[in-house]
């Protein structure tokens, strides 16, 4: 066994990186900005049909008559499927009833409208208030159990009540967050190319290239997963909502089995709002007790998750804080709404907002700087480091020391400025699954391939960076192949696990490829493989830079042979456990209730950053999404009709240019762990809390329910004036 074989793979010293941990331009940026990048939405195949799904306009109903004959008789309509069954019923607005495939999107739309459906409306509940009513219709028939399903408790209530009573100071509140939508730029969907026979190809807008083949194989009744090739060259955002074949994919497969032709089935924006999943809301009663010296002592909480037909998500309280005495309960409250799915840091965004609001209030009540108060109650010193850094960057000392006591500014001297901060945590570790192959040929071509996907996080670019750095080549000299289920296994991009699962396997693959390559090249230079170094486009003998070969010369040694090196996960190259803080400065117009975020600072650790530009971009994107969550975005269900009244991009408001402030993403280089950790999700967690706390600091008004809209601010100011 040579020396090189026994040597453990590491990322190497930070100062020696030439590409990793640098600011790298996204490899596919030119394709994306010029429109050359082809997304599933852009796929057009000869003879392709367009699928559309008819969804329930009612929150709760049954179908008493479903007549598809007129649609089937239309020329150009090639397949119609009924998706309703009496057993299933219709349990949410958006529940599929039937689907069609036709030769044009317009015809498919006309065919949907030709389907005659008679609905019998059933009683529904779409708001927490209605769902909790004694006489509320049960979403899941459970023998009178109602819609609230307890899912556990911890602690001893009586004991905690006793400790709480002895606390010097207590704060208490009811907090809520809305159901939010992912609003992926590319809606959910697939193109299924199955024309009969043994194989199929599926283009999918998915976060998991390898999460689709088995689903598709089963849906199409094919032999095994290898019968299906899944292609994900580019995908337009997922945020947790796109794994597996999903509803549009399942329907497309059904249609293609009938039509024996390629089916394109992309959700419309309306479908997307009512049937593609969402981030669960919450409603939380929280009580905190502290001592005069600023130590949190006790917490009592009652968490209700609002996940529609699903369970919803909520991270445990007291979240990141150190509170010894805790009593908490959790429950899911069901409504007739599309079920929640994962969305960027599920459970954490909700828990952080709730906990951070209460912590902030406690600090104010104790008259302690909210930043110092956090440090007093956070054990992990990484937070202390990040809070200090964020405070310095935003200028924390500029904030009003007492909430609301600040000069009026703005064109009409009606605005107040304030600052807030909040904290979040995440795992971000990986697991064994990825299989990465690297190939070198005698013409100098070098490629790494793996069946992963780039959902905007920059996977493609950092694979190239790892490979190019390994061989001392520019990124333009290497090739990266991803987005096909015909390449090696890779994890679905959920839970920010991709980097920590994939990058170690890439590193192992490139390290092995280099070792095998050096073994071939070494005899040409008359040295041992371990004496070789690859740098600056050359292979040379360490300490003797004149004894060298250019990359192309060195590759010639391969002749008709090539290098094929497979790498798998190495736990030592990745880590787990992330910290992040956000600071926000806001300007609140006390006459109109408008909240403008002026400046936002994020500080985030991630171990060894693979591409600093990509990490900063994730932080910027997360801050923008957090602004939407804090100030604008909410699913509005109408209790009377049962409909989501704002299921369109006009009434569902997302941040646009004027909503976006100066943003400063700070990578926490105080984190010296020499391992990679996924960070795209944690980057959003503390945002809403920081903004809500800044609103309090500016005005003295504590808004406990998101989003913080002008009407809530005006009502809050009104209450404050009266008290």
């Amino acid at each position: 066994m040579s020396q090189a074989e026994t040597k453990k793979t590491t990322w190497g010293p930070r100062e020696e990186h030439t590409l990793i941990n640098h600011h790298l331009r996204r490899l596919d940026a030119p394709e994306k900005v010029t429109g050359r990048a082809k997304y599933t939405h852009d796929v057009h195949l000869p003879g392709m049909l367009y699928g559309r799904v008819l969804t329930s306009p009612h929150a709760s109903a049954k179908v008493t008559n479903l007549d598809t004959s007129a649609a089937e008789a239309m020329p150009g309509v090639k397949a119609v499927v009924k998706l309703y069954s009496d057993e299933k019923g219709l349990k949410y607005e958006g529940d599929p009833v039937a689907a069609v495939a036709a030769t044009s999107p317009e015809l498919a739309d006309d065919a949907l409208r030709a389907i005659k459906v008679t609905y019998e409306k059933l009683p529904h509940v779409v708001t927490p208030k209605d769902a909790l009513r004694k006489d509320a219709p049960e979403v899941y028939k459970g023998g009178g159990k109602g819609n609230l399903r307890q899912s556990g408790s911890r602690g001893d209530l009586d004991e905690i009540k006793g400790i709480m009573a002895k606390c010097d100071v207590r704060v208490e509140g009811e907090y809520s967050t809305p159901i939010m939508h992912h609003v992926c730029l590319e809606t959910h969907g697939v193109v299924v190319d199955y024309r009969g026979g043994d194989t199929a190809t599926v283009w999918a807008s998915t976060q998991g290239t390898h999460s689709v083949p088995e689903d598709a194989q089963k849906a199409l009744g094919l032999k095994n997963r290898n019968a299906v090739t899944v292609l994900v060259d580019y995908m337009g955002g997922g945020f947790g909502s796109k794994f597996g074949l999903m509803l549009p994919g399942e329907i497309a497969c059904k249609l293609s089995l009938i039509a024996k032709a390629p089916i394109k089935m992309m959700f419309t924006r309306h479908d997307e709002f009512v049937a593609a999943g969402n981030r669960s809301g919450c409603s939380v009663k929280l009580k905190l007790g502290a001592n005069k010296d600023g130590k949190l002592v006790a917490m009592q909480s009652e968490v209700v998750r609002l996940g529609g037909l699903e369970q919803g998500a909520f991270a445990g309280l007291p979240y990141v804080y150190n509170v010894e005495n805790v009593y908490s309960t959790a429950a899911a409250l069901h409504t007739h709404q599309d079920g929640s799915v994962a969305m960027r840091a599920p459970g954490h965004v909700q828990a952080s907002f709730v906990m951070e609001a209460a912590v902030d209030e406690m600090a104010a009540k104790l008259n302690i700087d909210p930043l110092e108060f956090r440090k007093m109650n956070l054990k992990d010193t990484a937070y202390h480091r990040q809070l200090d850094k964020g405070a310095e960057v935003i200028g924390w000392n500029r904030r009003p020391k007492k909430a609301g006591e600040t000069p009026l500014v703005g064109a009409f001297k009606s605005c107040k400025r304030g600052m807030g901060c909040a904290v979040g945590t995440w795992g971000g570790g990986g697991y064994a699954s990825c299989v990465v192959d690297t190939f070198i040929h005698s013409d100098g071509s070098i490629a790494t391939q793996v069946g992963t996907q780039d959902l905007g996080t920059g996977t493609r670019t950092y694979i190239a960076a790892i490979l190019a750095e390994e061989f001392g080549l520019p990124m333009s000299a290497v090739e990266v192949r991803i987005g096909s289920s015909k390449y090696g296994m890779s994890v679905p991009s959920g839970g920010s696990t991709t980097t920590a699962s994939l990058a170690p396997a890439v590193k192992e693959s490139t390290t092995l490829a280099k070792r095998l390559f050096f073994e071939k090249v070494a005899p040409m230079l008359g040295v041992k493989p371990e004496n070789l170094t690859a740098k600056g486009g050359k292979i040379f003998v360490q300490g003797q830079p004149d004894k060298s070969l250019t990359w192309k010369q060195a590759c010639k040694v391969l002749g008709r042979d090539n290098i094929a090196a497979q790498g798998k996960w190495n736990a030592e190259l990745q880590g787990d456990g992330l910290h992040g803080v956000h600071f926000a400065e806001v300007e609140v117009d006390t006459e109109t209730g408008a909240v403008q975020v002026i400046k936002m600072v994020g500080v985030q650790d991630c171990g060894l950053p693979l591409n600093r530009t990509a990490v900063e971009s994730q932080m910027n994107g997360a801050m923008i999404q957090a602004i939407g969550y804090a100030l604008l975005e909410t699913n509005i269900p109408d209790p009377v009709t049962g409909n989501m009244v704002n299921a369109n991009m006009d009434d569902y408001k997302v941040p646009q240019a004027f909503e976006i402030p100066e943003m400063i993403p700070v990578i926490d280089d105080g984190d010296t762990r020499n391992v990679v950790i996924g960070m795209a999700e944690p980057a959003i967690i503390p945002g809403a809390g920081a903004i809500a706390n800044a609103v309090f600091n500016a005005t003295g008004v504590r808004i406990k329910s998101l989003p913080i809209t002008p009407d809530k601010i005006l009502r809050g100011l009104e209450r404050l004036k009266r008290s």
Binding site: L107, A411, V640, V645, K653, Q656, P710
Partner: protein
């Protein structure tokens, strides 16, 4: 999203266009006028309406113009694009409220396509009206679903039986500028002051204006009154980048010796029509706009507001906008430069 099939007609003259419109189409459902299409086509794609015939005004020459004469004032052809109005030198100098209102509409793409005539005649944005599956009062149903539903954005003034707010920004501005509309129909041409153009739901729950099914707005005319050069449109948006007015105020006034000698104040986004407040104007006329006077004017402007269960905030918000608009116009000696004050 596809529309239901319809017949597209491209008339060569106004007379031909009018002859193509069905005079018996009481609720303007069967034959529709197409100008910029920014509202009509959306309604058709979403199947809020499914007309049989669409009469395209763009095939008629001579309806797209902006003419200014200091003596006769401003004349705008109904097919003039909002973007052109917002950019017009004379509009910006002598009728800034209109330029600001036009600039505040939707997105650049919408302003490039959307016309002033279409903007005035657009249908309500109420989400119950815009849901294909719901039959609200506006679509011939029995009840206004917003009245006891999700009504954060609905009317606090002039509501009942429908509680829509009129969505047009330019309508509010033009009301403050004292515009007159020229309307062509089968019996010829009539001119009406804009204050008589819009109708409350209590008078007509289905249509927002006086147009007969076979009538077309062809021209908007604004007098070159001195007060119009000192005018502003304040539009408060929840989503600043692009949104409808949560509340809006248009004010035009004349200032002499520190006193307001003439003024018009019109509220938008709070009522089913632009909401003219003459009693509030009376409190301002002849006075210096002190904080105390502004408070009285704002209170008077919102007198009679009856909020629904979710839109009480609009009362305070609108009062603030009234005070602001007057302050903006009176705190400097010369008319202030054109500026979208919502994005200050």
């Amino acid at each position: 999203m596809s529309m239901k099939s319809f017949e597209l007609r491209n008339p060569k003259s106004l007379g031909e266009a009018i002859s193509l419109l069905d005079s018996n189409d009481k609720f303007h459902e069967r034959t529709k006028i197409l100008a910029g299409g920014q509202d009509l086509l959306t309604e058709m794609k979403e199947h809020i309406i499914e007309p049989e015939v669409v009469v395209n005004l763009k095939s008629i020459p001579g309806l797209n113009y902006i003419k200014f004469d200091p003596k006769t004032g401003l004349k705008i052809g109904a097919l003039t694009h909002l973007a052109d109005i917002a950019a017009d030198k004379n509009v910006r100098q002598f009728f800034p409220a209109l330029a600001i209102a036009a600039e505040s509409v939707g997105s650049a793409q919408i302003r490039n396509m959307g016309t002033i005539g279409g903007n005035l005649c657009q249908r309500p944005r109420c989400w119950y009206y815009r849901n294909e599956h719901l039959v609200c009062l506006k679509k011939g149903g029995k009840n206004c679903l917003a009245a006891s539903g999700e009504n954060k954005y609905n009317a606090i003034l002039g509501g009942g039986p429908s509680f829509i707010v009129h969505p047009s920004d330019t309508a509010t501005a033009l009301s403050a500028l004292g515009a007159t509309l020229t309307i062509s129909g089968a019996k010829g041409t009539r001119t009406v002051p804009i204050s008589k153009f819009f109708v409350l739901p209590r008078d007509n729950p289905r249509n927002e204006n006086i147009l007969l099914p076979n009538e077309v707005v062809t021209e908007i005319s604004i007098p070159n009154a001195p007060r119009n050069a000192r005018s502003v449109y304040f539009k408060f948006r929840e989503q600043v980048s692009m949104d409808w007015a949560m509340s809006a105020v248009a004010v035009a006034l004349e200032l002499s010796g520190g006193k307001v000698t003439d003024c018009r104040i019109v509220l938008g986004g709070v009522a089913p029509t632009p909401w003219h407040v003459p009693d509030a104007e009376a409190l301002l006329k002849g006075k210096a706009p002190t904080a105390e006077v502004l408070q009285q004017v704002a209170e008077k402007a919102l007198e009679g507001a009856i909020p629904l269960n979710q839109n009480g905030y609009k009362v305070g918000l609108t009062k603030a906008l009234v005070r602001r608009a007057v302050r903006y116009l009176t705190e400097t000696a010369t008319p202030p430069p054109y500026r979208d004050v919502n994005r200050m």
